[in-house]
Amino acid sequence: MNYKNIVYGSILILLSIIVILISLEFPSYVVRGQELPGPSFFPQVISIFLILIGIYEIILGILQTFKLKKLNEEDLKKEEGVRKTVVTKKGLFNITVVIAGIILFVPFINLVGFKLGLFIFSTILMTTFSVRLLRAVIYSAIVTVIIILIFDYLFKIPFPEGILFSF
């Protein structure tokens, strides 16, 4: 079954319905007794288009499932290409570290300060990507110094000093 189209179409429809439901609560825009396009008008119009596309994607997915619509060679090649890029266990670990690392970066630098936090974060990232620890430490130190020179000293962009350490 061609799940990708069906899932994508379903997500589009679900998202659009949520948008329409939320926008129903937006106030109407009335000027001198005349109702004009208000804040809900545009999101609702876009959502209707997205619902139509969602329905199309679902129908396409179902038709492909029952082989009523034959895939052309190009589509098949694309499908094959997607299937080939399988996420490995190590890959999944890498992705988790990147996502979790970015999420935790802000509270972490608020705690230990931007400079130390950035250095630690960079070292963790590099070692996760299989760089040897010593190399990762050296490169992280260089990257941290460059970032501080550019953003902190040159562009005067404020970064947190940290609760635990400040230097």
């Binding site: 589009l12 804040p39 996420v87 999944l92 990147v98 590099m126 490169y139 970032i147």
Partner: protein, 497 residues
């Protein structure tokens, strides 16, 4: 004439060169935009002569727009928003080991496109500005829709998925305070969302972080090797040979870029996308776009620098900024006692002449400064992919934060990174989403204001001549291919018989 010669003095040329190097540096860092580069250089120009100050501003603008293409080509992270379109084929060429060639082409096309833009600025600034002034809400609405329909053309293979991506981008653009009524939409009480989704972090996430996730998903395989596998260098002769064969692509894209740039509110970024889309649609190699084709590098890079010349047209002639960069520059003009507007050519003719000369010189200097920039940035990319990927994550984060000193934007970048990654897995193109976020407010505002003016009557959107031209162009964007095939079949078939 005096001011033309005055430009060649060291006190004007030297600051210009310094500013151009600064532009390469800032533009090449993801998240730091050309606007930011100009904003940073303005305070330095306070104590300089108007001509030297203008030389710095113009120099930094042209180089930073070009420099944005360097990380776009090698890392798939657009350095500036106007480099978004350059990612598509530039990065594909880099993946094939032709990154240096892509950037060499980019460099020459930026310089040539920039020169064409300036020449158009000099010769037809007045009539073009008049045409731009005739644009009302109805025309701007269609211009936005035209941009979106281009995004459907840009999507590789699947127009419907491309459209959905663009519409999702437009939907995202509705987050924040509604300009007309001041009502907060889809903010869920979050103050950070009141200002809407900043499209630069979104762009960094969609292009940069999604690329990192794609690179690391297979574990350690491929991470230990150098990022650039090709022999480093800047193949100038090879690039020039290609350019000589493609004069019409450059000229056409530069004209499109200049025209789009001349429309207030539509800057180099939209110019680059429209030029790319137009080239793809009209090219015989349409299907090869997005796979690393030279035309796909030439079109957007010629257009984005040409658009800079275009943005000066309404700025000089009517005092209306073409984009955020010229908005800052107009402020600088006033600082120097120069009043932009229809009388500028009479009251400050010498300054305008000087400005035109500076712009021409800046585009010639761009070749030398850009060459240095390519060489400097490519050194970094000799490192292993694993190290480069970590650096990309860090620069993406800091770059996203730096735009408005908001940690929230780091999370925006991450969210869009994950969306971009999932989009790639499901064959949904990401560029239309960016265009949707950029064009969304323009489309919505003009549609609503237009409908308010007409009391809800849509016929006004179709009956005005310029609007009608746009409607035809949009129809051709979607149905031009099948129509031309049909015509080809009818006439071609007849010949065969």
């Amino acid at each position: 004439m005096g001011n033309v010669l005055r430009v060649f003095q060291p006190d004007v040329l030297f600051p210009m060169l310094i500013a151009m190097l600064f532009g390469i540096f800032v533009g090449g860092i993801p998240g730091l935009t050309a606007t930011m580069a100009v904003a940073l250089i303005i305070p330095i120009t306070y104590y300089m002569s108007p001509l030297a100050a203008l030389a710095m501003v113009v120099g930094v603008t042209f180089t930073s727009i070009f420099a944005g293409d360097i990380p776009a080509t090698y890392l798939r992270i657009p350095g500036t928003p106007s480099s978004g379109a350059a990612v598509l084929d530039g990065h594909e060429m880099a993946k094939k080991g032709k990154g240096s060639l892509a950037l060499s082409l980019d460099l020459f096309c930026s310089a040539i496109g920039g020169l064409i833009g300036v020449l158009i600025l000099i010769t037809v600034s007045s009539p073009l500005a008049k045409l731009a002034l005739q644009f009302t809400n109805y025309e701007y609405f269609w211009l936005g829709i035209f941009g979106l329909s281009m995004s459907a053309v840009l999507s590789s293979g699947n127009v419907i998925k491309g459209l959905s991506s663009a519409l999702l981008g437009v939907l995202i653009s509705t987050i924040g305070i509604d300009i007309t009524t001041g009502y907060p939409r889809f903010t869920f009480g979050n103050i950070e969302l009141m200002g809407g989704i900043e499209f630069i972090p979104a762009m960094i996430g969609l292009f940069g972080i999604s690329e990192v996730l794609k690179n690391i998903e297979r574990g350690s395989s491929g991470l230990g090797v150098p990022t650039i596998k090709e022999k480093m260098g800047v193949p100038i002769l090879e690039a020039l040979k290609i350019i000589i064969k493609k004069p019409f692509v450059i000229i056409k894209s530069a004209i499109i870029g200049t025209f789009i740039g001349a429309l207030p509110g539509a800057g180099a970024d939209i110019g680059a996308w429209v030029a790319y889309g137009t080239e793809k649609k009209t090219s015989k190699k349409s299907k090869e776009f997005g796979t690393g084709i030279v035309d796909g590098v030439i079109a957007p890079t010629s257009a984005n620098n040409a658009a800079l010349g275009g943005t000066w047209i309404p700025a000089l002639v009517f005092g209306i900024p073409g984009d955020s960069i010229t908005a800052i520059v107009l402020g600088a003009f006033l600082m120097f006692g120069i009043q932009p507007g229809p009388l500028i050519f009479e009251q400050s003719g010498d300054i305008v002449t000087g400005l035109f000369t500076i712009a021409i010189i800046a585009n010639i200097f761009l070749i030398f400064v850009g060459y240095l920039g390519i060489r400097a940035y490519s050194q970094i990319l000799k490192m292993n992919t694993s190290i480069v990927m970590a650096i990309v994550v860090i620069f993406s984060m800091i770059g996203s934060y730096a735009i408005r000193n908001s940690f929230f934007d780091i999370y925006v970048m991450l969210l869009f990174g994950v969306i971009g990654y999932l989009f790639e897995k499901t064959n949904v193109p990401t560029p239309p989403m960016i265009l949707g976020i950029i064009l969304g407010p323009m489309i919505e505002d003009n549609l609503r204001v237009g409908l308010t003016k007409t009391g809800g009557d849509m016929t006004f959107f179709f009956t005005r001549p310029i609007s009608l031209v746009f409607v035809i162009l949009i129809a051709l964007t979607f149905f031009g291919g099948p129509i031309s095939k049909l015509i080809g079949k009818i006439f071609g078939g007849g010949k065969n018989k």
